[in-house]
Amino acid sequence: MPLRTVLSRALAILVLSMLALTAPPRAAVAQDTLQPLLQQYAEELASPSRRSFGAVADALLADGRPGAADFLRRYEAREVVQRPEDGLFFYAEDAGDLVRLIDVDTGAAVADVSSRDVDQIRANAGVRRVIAAALVPFELNAPERARREAALDAISRSAEASQIAPLADSIAQEPDPDLKTRKERLFLLLTAQFGAERAERLEAIAALGGDTSIEARGVLNQLTATRTEVAPSLPESANIARVLTVGEDLTQAEAYADLVDAGLAEPAQTPSELRAVLAENIVDGRVGGVPVGRLSDPMARIEAYEALEDAGAVPPRAAPDEAAQAVAAHVFYDEYVLNDPEITTAAQDALDSTAQAIATYQMADLVLDGLSLASIFFLAAIGLAITFGVMGVINMAHGEFIMMGAYTGYVVQLFIPDYTISLLVALPLAFLVTFGAGVAMERAVIRHLYTRPLETLLATFGISIALQQLAKNIFGTQARPLTAPDWLGGAITFNDIVGISTIRVAIFVLALIFLGVLLYILKRTRLGLEVRAVTQNPGMAASMGINPDRINMLTFGLGSGIAGIAGVAIGLYAQVTSEMGASYIVQSFMTVVVGGVGNVWGTLAGASLIGFLQKGIEWFNPSNTLAAQTFMVLFVILFIQFRPKGIVALKGRAAGD
């Protein structure tokens, strides 16, 4: 505590000296001490209220006595107490069990007293906000960057006209370039909203055009806010945004509702009101002479009502064409709330130019989203591209290998608490585990079924449900966390529209690495050569001295191992459950089939197509991802009709027809 006191005192002196340098001359002249001034406002200070405290704070600061800002700051921090005997205010500090009172002017310790002997002043949250707002001009020039930043945050939270001047003054002295640009932008925003001079204001508004930040758009939207009005004829004085056409911009019913809201028409009778009125007027089983039994017919109801109307029992009912006539007799228009055509026009122009920039950025964001989804699909499908695409084995348990990889990551995290290290351990370990599982499966089951491809589907489906249930039995049904290290936790934001989470960038990079490694293995290594040979013609390959059994085993292991690594990557951003693999399997098969079987590039193309397509469809209707998926699948079905062999189709004998 004492160290903090020393520091804060030193800071106070610093602030004061800076204030002395920059504040208007009046402040420099003021020589009086603070305590007498505080006594003037003793009552308000002792029991502060949110409503009245703004005036007190302004008065204290306006007087320009040294230490006023510091006093308010410590007041805000609840460090001020009042001594009941003489009503004097002191700063309070902890001194063991006692409270040390410190003079507000000299900074000297006055006395140590029990906390019961002084009145603690408790400024509530509302009062503290008022103080923070009042202190903003002072904080703008504070020596610490954090305090200046906090002041800027306070301004952008609650902007006021009075902040323009201190903000403008503080720009020139701002040493930090980042904060300086922020101050300049904030100054523009404030001027656009509250600028006193029209020319200045218009200039600021024009400068905001093309600025895609939420604040800038918020200010412009506020300036161009409209409300829908209705009048018998277009008023001269109003600042009209546009005239609405009934039938196009709003429906007949909406227009009539507007008329009713504006008090220009009587509300139309609803069917349920009609029924209620009729029910009230039942006489001897008849309403207006119509038997109740017939009232299940809407026409009979109107007939009954009209009979009542003729008898004078109920008020006349608006005929349907009256409503239409009333709507036709009025003009509906959007009016700017701000009645200043010059400003609204400028703001609208600025908004239009912003809209273009936004469209560009949104496109960029869409591309990023599509890219990240495509890389996830690619990761999930690339293992399958090897086992299914190259070997022709339909491995329904592929999704369970993904799950197995993710659970491996989870288990590793249980033993290694450091997320970075555990991730580095988990990736190769997941590969080894699923490689082993894949090899075991190939040896035990799949090699017996190479001649019966459709039956591998059944056998591997059996393995899939068995593995899923095993995972459920071991890890339970609830989702397990696979936590990403901190350096993967954030997001890379380019501006308020374009942004992508770091984890997705990492997945993209991982997908690229996979692509490179796989291409290298298949095209540049002995193993790859043998794999391709066995794929194309096992018999010929065998006669060349290649062992097809071994190659098949290794290929299947490789595909499964890659699924395991993909599992770790997917687990980092999605939840690890026993069913996570199953949700990828159908999409993975579609990716491989759409891309073209037997080709890594094809899988890449398929994943890109499906990923971008899904994001693209989502763009039209962002709230409904299910619909996007539905349309995406429908597209895939249609696509396969026209290119049954996929995007990248093998030609010649390798196609295996």
């Binding site: 069917p271 029924r275 009729l278 029910a279 039942i282 309403v287 109740v292 039994g293 009232l295 299940s296 017919d297 809407p298 109801r301 022709g392 339909i394 329904m396 089951v445 017996h448 079924l449 019966r452 491809p453 459709l454 039956e455 589907l457 059944l458 056998a459 489906f461 059996g462 393995i463 899939s464 449900i465 068995a466 593995l467 899923q468 249930q469 095993l470 459920k472 039995n473 199953a582 159908v586 098969f589 579609m590 089939v593 409904n624 299910l626 619909a627 998926q629 539905t630 699948v633 429908l634 895939v636 079905i637 249609l638 396969i640 009709q641 026209f642 049954p644």
Partner: protein
């Protein structure tokens, strides 16, 4: 073979004694179960178990359809449960609409002013769709008030879907694994579509309360269960007969030839696509009918029933029972689904190994999965294949 195809179909049953045997066994089974049932007989078989048996018969029917399309025609369709589900939705719409209508009319009967048809419809729509935040009757419910039209839809919707989908797929000569994945994609698209709240079939809430048959609410469930059991048995019998007849003649020979070598059949001048389309569509329609009988017994249908995995299960049943023989499909479906409900329903005793207790509700799927693997590896002809050994021995 040529002889049988030219001969008139009079001798169909006598030439295929296995069909007659199956129908006889089915009739015997139905009579015995009915005699033991609660609603009619001595009451040894509870109503809930009778429903399980009735549902199993429906599953056997779709398995027979699946066997025709896969075991005889070689199309591994992973989409037949979608047709099954569509049939279920078809009957479910009428059941739900008519029952709600009854409730609504009853509650409006006491109103001072009789309700208009429009008001009744609005009240029904609110009752059915408030769960997905809507109060309007979607246009696909336009026929839901009429049982006849809805029954027609049960045949037409799966039939047309299969016809269009099959025409597209067979025309572009998608075969083998690709066709399987394509049908799976169709199933996925349908279930994703139904999962949406705004597509008019109550999203993932599905249709519920289907066990209450409008107009028959005064009857106890034990009686209704028995009726549905009989209907299911009759449908299975007729379906079996139809498909047995279909695959026995010349048509069946061509279909099996397509399975064995499609190109060769095409070179012989047959229009392969038409044959496939007929088989695909006919089996889809039968699947829809099976679904329409199944879901009133199950009481609820939701999009999860149509998820791609259920169609794979269907293929597995047929494989376990034995492809290419219709009774094999029946055996497979009945065995696996009855075993499933026995194990997961807690009927099977848990096994205590001392250090670990095997709880079958947790371990049944593991056993089932490994069972699939074992059957595929060691009994490629399925359980039905065992009969061959029995028949040949003497």
């Amino acid at each position: 073979m040529a002889k049988t195809t030219l001969a008139p179909r009079k001798g169909f049953l006598s030439e295929n004694p296995s069909v007659l045997r199956f129908l006889g066994l089915l009739a015997l089974f139905t009579i015995i179960i009915s005699a033991l049932a609660e609603g009619f007989g001595v009451g040894v078989i509870s109503t809930s178990f009778l429903k399980v048996l009735g549902m199993t018969l429906c599953l056997c029917l779709i398995a027979v359809a699946m066997d025709v399309v896969w075991g005889y025609c070689g199309i591994l369709s992973l989409g037949h449960f979608a047709f099954f589900g569509l049939g279920g939705y078809g009957i479910g719409m009428w059941l739900m609409y008519a029952r709600t209508e009854g409730i609504v009319r009853e509650s409006l009967a006491n109103a001072p002013i009789p309700a208009t048809e429009g008001e009744v419809r609005d009240a029904i729509a609110t009752q059915i769709f408030s769960v997905v935040g809507s109060t309007e009757l979607p246009f696909i419910w336009g026929f839901a008030h009429s049982l006849t039209l809805q029954l027609l839809l049960i045949v037409l919707v799966p039939g047309l879907l299969a016809l269009v989908f099959g025409w597209l797929a067979f025309r572009s000569r998608v075969t083998g694994v690709y066709l399987s994945i394509l049908t799976q994609a169709m199933t996925l698209a349908l279930s994703l579509y139904l999962f949406q709240n705004d597509t008019g079939l109550r999203g993932n809430n599905g249709l519920s309360g289907l066990q209450n048959i409008p107009g028959l609410l005064h009857l106890p469930q034990s009686t209704i269960a028995l009726w549905f059991f009989w209907a299911s048995a009759l449908a299975l019998g007729l379906g079996y007969l139809l498909f047995a007849w279909l695959v026995s003649g010349k048509f069946g020979s061509v279909v099996r030839a397509i399975r064995d070598n499609e190109s060769r059949v095409r070179f012989l001048g047959y229009h392969v696509e038409s044959y496939k389309l007929v088989v695909f569509t006919a089996t889809a329609i039968v699947s829809g009918i099976a679904g329409a009988l199944y879901y009133p017994q199950a009481g609820i249908i939701n999009p999860a029933e149509i998820a791609p995995i259920t169609s794979i299960y269907l293929a597995v049943w047929v494989a376990i029972g034995g492809r290419g023989r219709l009774y094999g499909a029946v055996i497979g479906a009945a065995t696996v689904s009855l075993l499933s409900s026995w194990f997961t329903g807690g009927g099977a005793p848990n096994i205590n190994l001392g250090f670990y207790e095997i709880v079958w509700t947790d371990w049944w799927l593991v056993l089932l999965g490994l069972g699939f693997v074992a059957v595929t590896l060691f009994f490629p002809k399925g359980i039905g294949g065992l009969f061959d050994y029995l028949v040949r021995k003497p």
